[in-house]
Amino acid sequence: MDAIFNRYRSYRSLIVLVVVIVVQVLYLAYQVRTGRDERLIRVWAVSAVTPMAGIVEATRHNTIGFLKDYFLLLDVREQNRQLKRDNDQLRLENVFYRNQLTTAEHAHALTMFQTKSPSRTVAARVIGDSTVSTAKAVFIDRGSTSNIEKGMAVVTPDGIVGKVAAVYPLVSQVLLVTDSTFKVGVESQKGHVHGSLNCGLGHCVVEQIQNEEDIANGEWFFTSGEDRIFPKGFPVGTVVSAQPGNGMKDVRLNLSGAPGGTEEVLVVLEGVHQTIPTNAVPEEKIAKPLPVPPSDKENGGALPGTFQTEADKLKQKYQQLGKAQEHVYGALYSNLPNFNAKPAPKPLVAADPDAPSKTTPNPNPPAKPAPVLGAPVNKAAPNTPKAPAVKQPRPPSPKPVLPLGSPRPKRPMEGPVSTPPSASPQQ
């Protein structure tokens, strides 16, 4: 008996190893044979991991862009101490607006696509990757509570992404089209040649196309709907190369979407087949390009109103001040300009129509403010040569003195004096 126990002790680890391996192999064989997915273990694991990942992803998404640009602002502040406070404030505002604009643009594009597409979709955000490095799958923050079901197609406005492989209450797993086990039925735009997209080889190829078929470089491929996952008519990608092969043509495709790198996707709840466009190339971007900006000549020179941001306006203002006070930025021994001075208003230039449009240097010393500084802009009589601006006394400014670059009330029709009621009698 002791001999048996001693022998068991010497082989104990090996026996345990064999038992553990055999149990796992049998369990694996059971899953493969029955085709059953062990939901219980997966649900536990996903429920334990995804909330933390979701919180981390949301925090990262909302803060990282802001922090990045804030550290950029620190560099700008070092470059110019005199303007740092104004620049910081303006650029922080710009960062805020830019982040809002980026988010809004992406959301707007998805919304546009949702309204444009006949298929019913729901937007979702990618919150994590799969744990298998060789398998291409991601987790999205929508689950069965959002009516998502296994096998639904996942797309972006640019192209296809994958299909829902597993659904949990609050998250879903999406198998990407770049996974080696995933194939998509595709159809070419011109010749309507059908094939099967396979991206498991490190690059995407369209298989099952005969050598006799005519496929041109740059031609678009769309989903054919034959895989019963993607509705017909979704853009897939363009042909990079089409070479004759052994029996079948070797057609390589460049995917129009970015399945691995996308952050927001649309899950197709109810797919509707569409016709493949025959002539027009599908739009790559929803947003329309801006119209051609008016030339400077049409505007009579560079006006502050033509600039896009507050920072641009401020820069233009300082350039005008520097030019008026003969200050050369970046030059040694150049006198310090008075940045608190205001640039010469338009009526002064308009008073002399023969004068060149280019601002002449101000002979006054820089510290001395221009005589017309702070004078109300009299829109009613801009061309009257009388009322030289030099004789106008500077009206007391009843408004609180705002720091440079702080947002001004955008009411161009009102003069600065007309705003407070106490200043009206002086006019």
Partner: protein, 182 residues
């Protein structure tokens, strides 16, 4: 067996216990962190998709524990935790089997050699990474009939990347062990 080979042999105290150093809660937390890092880190750093923190953890506990049974059980636990977050077309047990073997072999090696040396640890780490990747590929091919590409050169490069991460990770884990012993 001569003196030099005796010098290489490990003589560990039988009283050393894995669970006396790293409590069960600590092990579960570390496993969770490792799995989450694999789940989420590629979203931040795309190249981190090749980082195998769960494997590095399994190797470490295998090397630090001369008894193979806890090591292989820990490997099975970590592997199944990874499997449960794998794509639904991959059945549970693929990583479990692979990491069970890695844990067992790592503990077996630590029975025969002194693995306190960092260089030996890193070499073993590199070897086990390649073994892990290759065995997983074989299993997918043989058991699931999935034709997944395997590039040995790329795998070796990823192994180097992983041992670069293993070096500071093992130092931190060593410090945790020392602090718990104290």
């Amino acid at each position: 067996m001569n003196e030099s080979s005796d010098h290489l042999l490990r003589s560990r105290r039988s009283s050393e216990s894995l669970f006396s150093r790293f409590q069960v809660v600590g092990l579960v937390v570390l496993t969770l962190i490792a799995v989450i890092s694999k789940f989420y880190l590629p979203r931040l750093i795309p190249s981190a998709v090749w980082l195998e923190v769960p494997l590095l953890l399994t190797i470490y506990f295998g090397l630090m524990r001369p008894d193979p049974v806890p090591a292989l059980l820990f490997g099975a636990f970590v592997g199944i935790a990874e499997d449960s977050l794998s794509p639904a077309n991959l059945p549970i047990g693929m990583y479990g089997i692979t990491k069970t073997l890695v844990g067992y072999f790592a503990a077996s090696v630590s029975q025969r050699f002194n693995v306190d040396n960092s260089l030996i640890r890193l070499i073993l780490c590199f070897f086990f990474y390649f073994f892990h990747a290759f065995f997983y590929w074989v299993m997918r091919r043989a058991l699931l009939q999935q034709l997944v590409p395997f590039d040995p050169r790329e795998t070796l490069l990823h192994g180097l990347f992983n041992i670069a991460v293993a070096l500071p990770l093992y130092l931190v884990l060593d410090r945790m062990k020392v602090s718990q012993e104290a």
